[in-house]
Amino acid sequence: MKKIEAIIKPFKLDEVKQALSKIGVQGMTVTEVKGFGRQKGHTEVYRSAEYKIDFIAKVKIELITTDEMVPQVIETLERTAKTGKIGDGKIFISPVDEVIRIRTGERGRDAI
């Protein structure tokens, strides 16, 4: 099992979510986050005073999936979250030791 974390542009969330649902992803956790990478921040000007906004709003998607599904999920994320402009985000993949569904006590793949 793997955890896939994707930092994406907020306006892409709907498209990404629908595409992931279509390939059989049944759940995810979404968080509004702020950060910067190569895109850096932007500048806001109020009455000629410039304020550098370092952190840009992004959305972080977290989902757990089986090892077999990983290539398909990544392909879907790459395809739907991409605009080709700087700031499209990143995908992180890491192993998951165990998954437990609290209500039923199921373990492993059954709990995903």
């Binding site: 806001e44 000007v45 109020y46 009455r47 000629s48 005073a49 304020y51 550098k52």
Partner: protein, 426 residues
């Protein structure tokens, strides 16, 4: 009491010399006074939105509490100093202390057709808003206790004498023929220049230029600007002291200048920085209103548009200079009110027309070059007086009470440190 009864008895058998009260004039002046009163909460919102959220209540309070403090000062002796019988052409005496003799009959020296108290209460609202304007210069760092004393001292030693110079019977600028219809000299230049002195004496906010200090709620600021604009019809229109053609003319000029200045600030900033900002449009409107104030009862509608167009761009560029000079006039009172109204008083010397107001004078463009000199002299006098006296008042307060909150309180914010409240809890 006997005076009052005598007045009533007298009114029953009218002598020809007694001025006749006009119900329309009285109604308009009272409504105008209420409109100007509404500018205080308007100013509170305008300024409140521009500060950081930890200081929103403290900033709102600095405008709001002026209604309390200056009303009492005005009733006890402020009105008498400003409009009472003349002493040496610079100040009123104390004959009208506690509003003694300021009754319900007209006082023809100021307004022949409305009760003297209607004129008094209308003028009071101007006295209230003027020192509140200055609070923008030292926003986010001033000690509330000291602010209360500052309000009283500044009104007593700056506002009241200046009102007398310009509007009081016997005042030297009035005698000279200087024109200030609704308070360009008395309200906006005096507050704008006092703000320069205040920004210099009080000093910068902690972290100014290093930390970000963006406005926390511009929706509030724009609503505040809208309320100010609305109230300004009373400010300028009411200064006709009568309902009729002059009030209408001032009302029209007010709208035209505000509108054109909102546009010209927005466009100047758009060209300079690439964005037509909402804050720019709102600031431009206020600049246009402050600018037209002295001219509003003397100029025609097209002149008002020209004055406003210049005002918006001029104040925008003046504001940019602040960063160059490095003083922290936090909410830009100098650039908006000081610079705007300086242009407005001088523009009165250019655009004034006796065809608009026979009680005024023609300006340079209407064949009278002498008025511009008088206007310039008035501007310089008010600049020097307001700057010097404000500086002295603040220095004395600094030595005695202290001007600023402690560093710890400045960081935690005025709301909790000065008032024990917070503006937002959600």
């Amino acid at each position: 009491m006997s005076l009052l009864i005598a007045g009533v008895a007298f009114a029953e058998a009218p002598a020809p010399s007694l001025p006749k009260m006009d119900s329309g004039d009285t109604a308009w002046l009272l409504i105008s006074a209420a409109l100007v009163m509404l500018m205080l909460p308007g100013l509170a919102l305008f300024y409140g939105g521009l500060v950081r959220s930890k200081n929103v209540l403290g900033t709102i309070m600095q405008s709001f509490i002026a209604l309390g403090v200056i009303t009492i000062q005005w009733a006890f002796y402020g009105y008498s100093l400003a409009f009472g019988p003349d002493v040496g052409h610079v100040v009123g005496n104390l004959d009208w202390i506690g509003l003694r003799g300021v009754g319900l009959d007209p006082f023809p020296g100021y307004s022949a057709t409305v009760p003297h108290q209607a004129f008094m209460i209308f003028q009071m609202m101007f006295a209230v808003i003027t020192p509140a304007l200055i609070s923008g210069a030292f926003a986010e760092r001033f000690k509330f206790k000291t602010y209360l004393v500052f309000l009283v001292l500044w009104s007593t030693f700056v506002y009241d004498p200046l009102a007398h110079w310009v509007w009081g019977v016997g005042g030297w600028i009035k005698n000279l023929g200087g024109l200030d219809f609704a308070g360009g000299l008395v309200v906006h230049i005096s507050a704008g220049v006092a703000s320069l002195a205040a920004a210099l004496v009080v000093g910068k906010r902690k972290g100014y230029g290093k930390e970000d200090m963006p406005p926390h709620n511009l929706t509030m600021t724009v609503l505040g600007a809208g309320i100010l604009w609305f109230g300004w019809f009373g400010f300028n229109g009411g200064s006709a002291l009568a309902s009729g053609s002059l009030a209408t003319s001032a009302f029209v000029a007010t709208q035209f200048s505000a509108a054109s200045a909102a546009l010209s600030w927005m466009i100047a900033e758009w060209a300079d920085r690439g964005n037509p900002t909402v804050l720019g449009a709102a600031s431009g409107a206020v600049a246009g209103l402050a600018t037209i104030t002295p001219a509003s009862g003397f100029v025609g509608p097209i002149s008002a548009i020209i004055i406003g167009l210049v005002a918006g761009a001029l104040c925008y560029y003046a504001l940019n200079l602040k960063t160059k000079f490095g003083y922290d006039d936090s909410l830009d009172v100098v650039a908006v009110h000081g610079v705007g109204s300086t242009w407005g008083v001088l523009a009165t010397g250019l655009f004034a027309a006796t065809a608009i107001n026979s009680a005024g004078h023609d300006g340079l463009l209407f064949g009278n070059p002498s008025l511009i000199g008088i206007q310039a002299l008035s501007v310089v006098s008010v600049w020097v007086y307001s700057f010097a006296v404000t500086w002295i008042i603040l220095k004395v307060l600094d030595w005695t009470m202290g001007l600023r909150v402690s560093e710890e309180h400045e960081i935690s914010g005025l709301d909790t440190s000065q008032h024990g409240e917070v503006g937002y809890s959600f």
